[in-house]
Amino acid sequence: MVQARELSVPRRRAARTGARRRYAPRWRVLAVFLLPALLLYSVFIVYPLVSALDYSFFEWRGIRQTGFAGLGNYRDLLSVYPYDQQLWRAFGHNALFFGGTMLIQNTVGLLFALLLFRYGRGKRFLQAAFTTPYLVDPLVVGYLWSLLLNPTFGPVNALLDAVGLDSWALPWLGDTRTALPIVILVNAWQWVGFPMLMFSAALAGIPAEYHEAARVDGASAWQAFRRVTLPLLTPAIGVVSVLTFIGNFNAFGLVYAMAGSSGSPAGSTDVLGLLFYRVGFVEGGVEAIGRSSALAVLMFVFIFGVSLLATSYFRRRERRLV
């Protein structure tokens, strides 16, 4: 905020000193630069969003609209078996996914960032190593891990057998108790580099004097972290949390690759993205477009709403820091 205010001052001054007339047609230049992006954004983002909203209010038979449905599709989604149960189950799994990711991925990411910040040795290499998995598409990561964890041919269980831990050689992705935790762990494995980089950047921005002052005052390492570092990381925590939330509630590729479209086994890894895919594309049925659009709208409203609330919450926390 402070930076932005400083930057805008010279520009305003320039405008006041008659520069505006000299550059009168500037909006056209702006338009040329903005128009392509705006057009693409409208065609590929705004239009699909608006049309999903539009579709969700109509009755469908295949690709033919047969009449205005009002909230009929939304009601169906919440009342037709098995969607009435699958919707809440998937929502619950998304919440677990988010909670697990915050707890594991983002905490470990913070730990890595702190360690790299404290002990600089091999920093470049380790940073690169931790962020490499996110160069790979989640679908590929999912298939790789499901191969590794394959109970028949996979090396993970073969290794466990070889070292005498055969009681640990579980069907990881075939057990309703372990499947979702495994998906969360693999997701964390892929994305742990992201919170690490965010927190590293934030740590580098904390003036060293604060820590020195804390040490002079006799604070222990933990106290210094808890009272000085962590509060100053609030902006980074906010950004990481909101992006994790958006990513996790939109999860699809990784879960699809590891658990198929039905959230195998027995729906224990089913998430909203998979439910949408099934209703819209897999199961067919002449009602598919209306119901899947309704689900897409619900997901968007929820994710957008919570993201806005979370952002404003973290803004307020940040303001309190200043």
Binding site: Y23, Y81, G174, P265, A266, R278, V286, E287
Partner: protein
């Protein structure tokens, strides 16, 4: 930041005005090209008009990207006997095909003739009036197997919208060498089959290569059909279901579901985590002896090991079955239909009429190693010929696919999730049957 901003401003000085115009022109040009590329291309029909006054080009859409060469060969034969028609085969990604076709049929650049999904997959196109009914237009259809024609009929109007091209049958593939090594004969009764499975398991061989993992849920209803079709009562039960005389909660249907649970000890370990490629590998490498599957798996299995000695058998009816002879469940794969908006309907009809002739059927069976739906075509491959014979003699419907995919939730989607739950011990056969009934009765009206 400041210096950069200054530079930009300098560039937009008097000299910049000419550049600006070029910029705008350039940007508009780029956009125009991009938009043109996005717009649907002119259909093959338009090209046909330009190509010559009397030669018509038909566009044929398909989801079989892998069959381009075979179709070129097949269609060349058609063009020999129909010199005034040229057919352009245009395949699309199978997973995207339904949406591409629905869009194509509603706009002007669509196909003249299109490969159509069967049963519930066809219904959205029928309801949108996008296809030409073929009743009375393709006489040869009256000779087709009635069970297979169901796949290309509209659900409510009963009209035929396509010429069926292929069908799938369900049976057990077995490894002849493993059977003889273990002194096992092709089972004549259910108990023989269980005894054989026990023997194989004791010898360290997986008896049945069945997958129930994340990619395999769609094969669970297939496994159920292979072992349980006779147990639930086959065609008679299906007819009773459709008329509303029976429900999925019927004890016979429940008993057929329970068979899957009973057979679980003879499936690979941790079957719920096992994927389709895993069981194919088990079967191909001789680690599993029997592979309950459809015709569609014959080619991939033989491609993996052409030297594999394979046999097939129909599962003997389990004790208590209402149907006492072994059955071969099957279904129509799809059909070829005519776009209601085609500019060359007469020629398109010529093509689909030809697709109902034994000439096409034989070419199709030979080139694609599939079971042709055209009556009187015998496959040259002995295993395929046996499957065709079994289906002709004891064909049965794959009930959940054939009759219960017309609404949401579709019958086999509910079924496979519930069966997976049953295999993980979270539910029982009665609850599986009850869920299927609860799911489909929300849209299914008996009597249709």
């Amino acid at each position: 930041m400041n210096p950069t901003l200054g530079e930009n401003e300098r560039n937009c000085g008097p000299k910049g005005s000419l550049m600006k115009r070029r910029w705008i022109a350039g940007a508009i040009g780029v956009l125009a090209v991009a938009l043109a590329a996005c717009a649907p291309g002119g259909g093959a029909s338009d090209q046909g008009d330009k190509a010559g006054a009397d030669k018509v080009t038909l566009s044929l859409w398909s989801w079989r990207v892998e069959d381009v060469k075979a179709y070129e060969k097949i269609l060349a034969k058609f063009e020999e006997s129909h010199p005034k028609i040229h057919v352009e085969f245009k395949p699309f990604q199978a997973t995207e095909y339904n949406n591409i076709l629905a869009t194509g049929l509603s706009s002007s650049g669509g196909p003249d003739v299109a490969q159509l999904r069967a049963y519930g997959g066809l219904q959205p196109l029928v309801e949108a009036d996008q296809l030409l009914p073929l009743d009375g237009k393709v006489e040869a259809l009256s000779g087709f197997d009635a069970k297979l024609l169901e796949g290309s009929k509209g659900h409510t109007d009963g009209k035929i919208y396509g010429v069926p091209f292929a069908y799938q049958t369900l049976q057990v593939l077995y490894n002849k060498k493993l059977f003889s090594d273990n002194g096992i004969e092709v089972p004549a009764t259910w108990d023989d089959m269980i005894a054989a499975a026990k023997k194989l398991k004791a010898a360290g061989i997986t008896p049945f290569a069945v997958a129930a993992g994340p990619d395999a849920t769609w094969t669970l209803p297939i496994t159920h059909e292979i072992f349980g079709n006779a147990r639930y009562g086959s065609t008679a039960f299906r007819d009773a279901l459709v008329k509303g005389e029976k429900k999925f909660t019927d004890p016979d249907f429940t008993a057929s579901v329970k068979l899957i649970k009973d057979l679980e000890p003879y499936f690979p370990k941790d079957v719920v985590a096992v994927k389709i490629p895993d069981v194919q590998a088990l079967f191909v490498t001789g680690k599993a002896a029997m592979y309950p599957t459809g015709t569609f798996d014959l080619a991939p299995v033989l491609a993996a090991d052409p030297s594999l000695e394979l046999g097939i058998f129909q599962v003997p009816p389990p004790p208590g079955s209402p149907v006492t002879t072994p059955v071969t469940p099957g279904w129509a794969d799809g059909s070829f239909g005519v776009n209601a908006k085609s500019a060359h309907q007469a020629e398109a009809l010529e093509l689909v009429k030809w697709m109902a002739t034994p000439e096409f059927g034989q070419l199709y069976a030979t080139e694609l190693k599939q079971l042709s739906a055209v009556p009187g075509v015998t496959p040259s491959d002995p295993l395929l010929a046996e499957m065709a014979k079994n289906y002709a003699g004891n064909g049965a419907p794959y009930t959940l696919l054939v009759n219960f995919r017309y609404g949401q939730p579709n019958g086999d989607a509910v079924f496979r999730d519930e069966v997976q739950k049953m295999l993980t011990g979270q539910t029982d056969p009665e609850a599986v049957a009850a869920s299927v009934q609860k799911g489909v009765e929300q849209w299914f009206k008996p009597g249709n």
